[in-house]
């Protein structure tokens, strides 16, 4: 089954400009969510609101990597859709300079609950394949 989310997006702006929008709370709020983010490794912060535009905490995070204009990573602890059981994942932004702007890559993966279920134990690969088989409706 799909265990990670990957997106690649092109912007006409420079990596520096795009970086600002990834790291300045007042700019983050304009497109993502309210937060008390700071580009400091180890800084713990939260995203508030999100898709429902309420004031509930959407994710609690910790900055894992800050390489200005190049890469930014933070942990992302959130709730499952169906209960309040929190679990961890990881968001990594990579900025690649292009002639006409910036390629922004997003990888959101490391969903621990899923990995725990699909990856950890020996022999667990089999059920992992079964998951995929079930989900895709095709034999692997």
């Amino acid at each position: 089954m799909q265990k990670e989310i990957k997106h690649s997006w092109h912007f006409n702006q420079s990596p520096k400009e795009v970086w600002e929008y990834l790291t300045r709370p007042e700019l983050l709020e304009q497109w993502l969510m309210k937060s008390d983010f700071q580009p400091i490794v180890g800084h713990k912060f939260r995203f508030i609101g999100g898709c429902n535009h309420d004031d509930k905490e959407a994710a609690s995070c910790e900055v894992l990597e800050v390489s200005p204009y190049t890469q930014l990573a933070y942990s992302w602890r959130t709730n499952s859709l169906y209960d309040s059981k929190p679990f961890d994942s990881k968001v990594v932004w990579t900025l690649i300079p292009k002639e006409d702007g910036t390629e922004l890559r997003l990888v959101h993966d490391g969903f621990t609950v899923l990995e725990d279920a699909v990856a950890h134990n020996d022999g667990w690969t089999r059920i992992g394949n079964k998951f995929a088989e079930h989900l895709n409706g095709v034999k692997i």
Binding site: M1, Q2, K3, I5, H7, W9, F11, N12, Q13, E17, V18, Y21, Q30, W31, L32, G50, C51, S80, L81, Y82, D83, K85, F87, L104, L106, H108, F111, V113, L114, D116, A117, N121, G123, W124, R126, I127, K130, F131, H134, L135
Partner: protein, 107 residues
């Protein structure tokens, strides 16, 4: 026996249940045959089975005097839905960022 209804994440969070699903991924099994693999009481096994059944991970079919458990897709779909939710979430956010930056570019 009463068993709570747990969501897909809670269902797979338990190692015994994961092991049960792993065994069932090879073939359908009777509850008795499944129970033989675990060092727990038969009611405890039944409770896990009920939980997996309620969450749509397995189906139970009576054949003769035996009850057969088979893996089912629904529970797994819920896990995939979660990933899909985030996938859509990020796409909508990136579109918003794109619009923001494009507007900014205009004089």
């Amino acid at each position: 026996m009463r068993a709570q209804t747990l969501d897909a994440f809670q269902v797979i969070a338990d190692p015994s249940r994961r092991q049960m699903m792993q065994l069932l991924s090879k073939d359908s099994m009777t509850i008795n045959a499944l129970a033989e693999n675990f060092d727990m009481s038969r009611p405890a096994v039944s409770k896990h089975i009920k939980i997996m059944y309620n969450a749509g991970f397995i189906s139970i079919k009576d054949i003769g005097r035996e009850r057969y458990c088979t893996l089912k897709q629904d529970g797994f779909n819920e896990l995939q839905e979660f990933i899909n939710f985030f996938d859509k979430f990020w796409i909508s956010k990136l579109k918003k960022l794109e619009a923001l930056l494009n507007n900014k570019a205009k004089p």
